[in-house]
């Protein structure tokens, strides 16, 4: 458990001290939400429906935008090589990335969501099923994003390419995430993507470690 | 075509134009590569 803790601690420290990622993702979400009334007008009934959809758009966008930070920034400055040398088990490194990345990029959205929903006259009981789906779904999305990031480490023209690879893989999560009753399917999907992601990310990291 | 002529013909035209475009482009690419290969083989024979 010590290496897992160390790696998570390292990523959180980097996020907290260098570019203040917590604030970045939260403010990104707030900014997207602020745009909604400007686009769709101030009819609160309509806004309520749109708000539920915008949550999923902003979470997939924030996952896409921070995709490079999972492995690529470590790969670029060479610290990925050091991590691969220091820690024997690839699975530990990958699991640490899941947790750290989820805490940095998805947790701020989930924490801020109940407060933002007040702006759209949504009560907590309205938002609660969405919140549950968001917690499960964002975990699954992080699993997918991690293996996409690990597999495309050596690719040029990266962000568009990664978008084309990532978005079709995220579609099932969004479809089941929007429906408040389908959380069991969402759990199954997330577990499945966890299994695939462990193998695929380890495969990707092993290729670049060679 | 019972009022649907535009849709039917345009879809057939799109189908055949796309297919022949793909066909011609790939044949041209193949010929180009063949020429390149022959040149290289000559070159490697001379050097060896």
């Amino acid at each position: 458990m010590k290496p897992l803790y160390d790696l998570i601690n390292r990523d959180l420290k980097i996020a907290f001290f260098t570019s203040s990622n917590f604030l970045f993702t939260a403010s990104f979400f707030i900014l997207i939400v602020v745009l909604i009334p400007f686009i769709f007008g101030s009819d609160s009934e309509q806004l309520r429906i749109i708000f539920k959809g915008i949550i999923w758009i902003s979470i997939s966008l924030s996952i896409l935008l921070t995709l490079e930070r999972i492995f690529y920034s470590d790969y670029e400055d060479g610290s990925l090589d050091l991590i691969l040398q220091r820690y024997e088990s690839l699975e530990i490194i990958i699991c640490a990335k899941y947790i750290a990345h989820w805490v940095i990029n998805c947790l701020p959205l989930i924490v801020i969501l109940p407060f933002l929903s007040l702006l759209f006259q949504l009560t907590f009981s309205d938002i609660f099923p969405i919140l549950i789906n968001l917690v499960i779904g964002s975990m699954g999305m992080v699993f997918v994003a991690t293996f996409v990031s690990a597999l495309t480490l050596g690719a040029k023209r990266t962000i568009f390419l990664k978008g084309i690879i990532l978005i079709p893989l995220l579609v099932p999560f969004i479809i089941f995430g929007v429906d408040p009753h389908s959380w069991p399917i969402l759990i199954a999907l997330s577990m499945m993507s966890f299994v695939i992601s462990i193998y695929a990310s380890a495969y990707g990291l092993r290729l670049y470690g060679e | 075509m019972g009022g649907y002529g535009f849709y039917v013909w345009s879809s057939y035209i799109i189908f055949f134009v796309t297919i022949s475009y793909v066909f011609i482009v790939n044949l041209m690419k193949l010929n180009e590569k063949k020429k390149k290969l022959i040149n290289l083989e000559k070159h490697s024979d001379q050097s060896s």
Binding site: F147, L151, T152, G154, A155, K156, R157, T158, L161, I164, I165, I167, P168, L169, V171, P172, I175, F176, D179, S182, L189, I196, A200, Y203, G204, L207 | M1, G2, G3, Y4, G5, Y7, V8, S10, S11, Y12, I14, F15, F16, T18, I19, V22, F23, N26, L27, K29, L30, K33, K34, K36, L37, L40, E41, H43, S44, S47
Partner: protein
């Protein structure tokens, strides 16, 4: 990429290509005659259902090409024989073209049937996502300059995409039943008359011939490319 394949293998492909081309052209001519004149119009949709004879075969072969791609990538994972990676690499663009044709003709068929060019119907949407899976595979090959690495990565991606295809199909069906009125699926007629099956099968056969022709041509391009890169190495060494 080193290939332990003899030159005679692709000489055989060379000899078969004219025969394949002739078969493709002849069967397309026969198929188009039956599709456009030799078959009666549908009694509900009228002549607009003649679009089916190009739309349905394209959709079939688009799905089949993706299965071939994924299966050959899986075999590559087991045997590590680069030949299977070349199969996958050469069939991907053809499958993408068929997917694109299926999307465009489906949209054209939608205009007289539904009154609109595009409907977020389960089949059209999952075809669109399939098109993006093809694009991702093709772009990944282009984006990674080290071809050996590109083959390994894209094979993994193709397998994951193949797992994703049924999930997408299932989820899009689910989404469709939630959000769409049932009347939209007018296209799914349960029984097709026999007189429509004949042109459909001829057109499907013709498209398959075209697919095999293009596949053999692209496979030869890949062979030659690998030979060229090997010769280059030899010369520069």
């Amino acid at each position: 990429m080193y290939l332990k394949l003899k030159k005679s293998y692709f000489d055989v492909l060379d000899r078969f290509t004219p025969f394949l081309i002739i078969m493709t052209i002849v069967s397309f001519i026969i198929g188009s005659y039956f599709a456009l004149y030799g078959s009666p119009p549908d009694y509900i949709q009228g002549d607009s259902m003649r679009i089916m004879y190009v739309h349905v075969p394209s959709a079939w072969w688009a799905l089949m090409s993706y299965s071939v791609l994924a299966v050959s990538c899986t075999i590559w994972f087991i045997t590590r024989n680069p030949f299977f990676n070349l199969i996958a690499k050469s069939i991907a663009p053809i499958g993408a073209v068929f997917t694109l044709i299926a999307l465009v003709t489906g949209s054209i068929w939608g205009k007289p049937t539904w009154g609109v060019w595009w409907v977020w119907d389960a089949r059209l949407t999952s075809m669109l996502l399939l098109f993006f899976l093809y694009l991702a595979y093709i772009f990944l090959w282009q984006a990674i300059s080290n071809k050996d690495l590109a083959s390994k990565i894209s094979a993994a991606l193709a397998m994951i995409g193949f797992i994703n295809v049924p999930i997408i199909k299932f989820s899009v069906d689910w989404w469709n039943t939630l959000h769409q009125p049932a009347s939209i699926s007018k296209l799914s007629s349960p029984s097709i008359d026999e007189s429509m099956l004949i042109p459909l099968f001829i057109m499907a056969f013709a498209s398959l011939c075209f697919l095999i022709t293009m596949f053999s041509v692209r496979l030869r391009i890949e062979f030659i490319e690998s030979r060229i890169s090997r010769l280059r190495q030899k010369i520069y060494d």
